[in-house]
Subunit: 379 residues, 2 copies
Amino acid sequence: MASTQLAALRLQPLQASAGVPLSQCRKHVYTGVYMPGQKAYNAPLAVHQILRLASLQSPPQQLKEGSKSLLGSRSPSSHRQPRIRATASDAEPAAPSNLIGVHWLTWAGGLSEEECRKAIDGSAKLGYDLVEVPLGDPDAVNVPLTRRMLQEANMAATASLGLLPHADVSSDDSEIAAAGEKLLEEAVKVAAGIGATIVTGITYSALHKYPSGPTVAGRRNSVVALKRIAARAADSGIEIGLEVVNRYESNLINTAAEAMELLSEIDHPGVMVHLDSYHMNIEENSAAEAVQTCGDKLRYVHIGESHRGYLGTGSVDFPALFAALAAARYRGPITFESFSSRVVNPQLSNTLCIWRNLWEDSEDLAQHAKAFIDEKWNP
Amino acid sequence: MASTQLAALRLQPLQASAGVPLSQCRKHVYTGVYMPGQKAYNAPLAVHQILRLASLQSPPQQLKEGSKSLLGSRSPSSHRQPRIRATASDAEPAAPSNLIGVHWLTWAGGLSEEECRKAIDGSAKLGYDLVEVPLGDPDAVNVPLTRRMLQEANMAATASLGLLPHADVSSDDSEIAAAGEKLLEEAVKVAAGIGATIVTGITYSALHKYPSGPTVAGRRNSVVALKRIAARAADSGIEIGLEVVNRYESNLINTAAEAMELLSEIDHPGVMVHLDSYHMNIEENSAAEAVQTCGDKLRYVHIGESHRGYLGTGSVDFPALFAALAAARYRGPITFESFSSRVVNPQLSNTLCIWRNLWEDSEDLAQHAKAFIDEKWNP
């Protein structure tokens, strides 16, 4: 039986046992990944979405465990054929399965029609399952166009942003904190519109080299705002990620342990931790320790080299990271991220201090990364 | 024959063959390391200084080669007994020998008398050969006091700073560039006053997360200013280092290759490259490649962990770095650098984004680092 058929058959019992209304499931399945004019929709992602919704509504433990085998699809080669592995009801334990993604900025600095085509079709052509859309300026996204293109290419999407110094939920200035919450809210709306399932990044503070450490009042503002945003996002089937970044990009969360602490204060099941190999290489004792610290709260992973260029050409210990993810039975997306002054988003490139060319050819870079991940990720 | 006696005997022939006037040699030997009330001065450092002066004045190749065995002293344990190894005139090739240093900020955030005592005596007690004095604000240094304390403790000194956004030789605003040159000049004066032999750090731009990339005019200003400063510094027997730092601390030099390029434009023998394992872990393909790129222009090395805490607890591959330094027959100082919010310099800590405690006890940290370097550095 084809994997997509298998998944389709399982949708109804899954949503029923998860206690998620079918109407809500369908909404997400179809807005997110239904492909008009094609015979299949992205079944693994549909299942992923139902299970995520279920998780947000506190499903029975049995389902939660079963869901681990269904949180994505991995293309073992550049040929994109979504796969569904065994479920919890099968006799054998489920084999891991992950969506493999690529960051938009690998392809394009902006979100014009031409850039959408480049990023989405380029990613699809190389066998990626998802593309991470930058939402630093949510108004810049042409929602219907982006959604249509994602659907046509059978690509899943996630979205990411870093808040801004003047729109920062971790500010102790209530106006700036409110502006940060508004920006997050807009990002969630746009993410839902394009069919993304995750909004992650520096959602808890500004993407910014802070001039001083965090304040108690600012931290409280961040916690309160994220709790509210997480509740609203869950209504749209969207999870909020806390990306752990290095000290130059935030003063609030630089380690997995710090993320877990904030997460426990936020106390909402729709918030999760997002680790990134580039940042871990700077801040963590080891990637293994960071992965272990997060446990099942780790639900998004960025794969980036130490200098943000070609994978395998820097100092990140990828075998150790992949071994840690395998040991943790990590099932979430694994998204490649890289930056070079070759592809420039005027806002993001300067904020991220991209001063030199680490690569010239987006396609060669992304193809290399896909092959690298396929080769190393053997859980 | 005791090593100090051996070195003393060699001072005169060395200075003669290097073509350095004896008066100038003596000035540096005695202002830098002479210890009234003690029977010996720091002979290896004295020789180091003569040879450096010689090098600035283009010595014969023969002397340059011979000098490699004399550029410092390494204490093999916490017992501080300077050692002179074989010279070029000996039958066997010289064994490497390096001064092992520690950054002031390991001990204290400021430069008061109490803080001087803590930093200098603390370093000496643990067997370090030199201490790196922060010169971000040269006026804050009590020159006679610091010099006296260094002499009393038989400690060599180097000095470091990062220029400031409003005093930045790489600015294309000529007033800001001139203010940067003035700050460097003051730093060199203070360094000479306390007996330091090196002024290094971000001497070529501001220590700053730049809002955009470098400009052609700014780069030119930096080159011109450094050429002038290097000439003035050489008159005081001081070398200028270009510390290669990560993208968040400068937009001009993030890799060894970029440093070598700027160095060739400056074109003065008194300017050298300073590599740092913390920064290399972010920016370089590998420490080995970086060390190789610099060749004999590498004359200062910072040893720091990936998160700037305890050595060996992060992701820096120290065995590979030390192997590369040994292969390059590196003879310059090796200085441990670490930062924690436990020891705070209000200016530097925020600029370096030190948001968390990576350690509590300066002495334990520095002792651990000394033992770590002694164990790993076996060239």
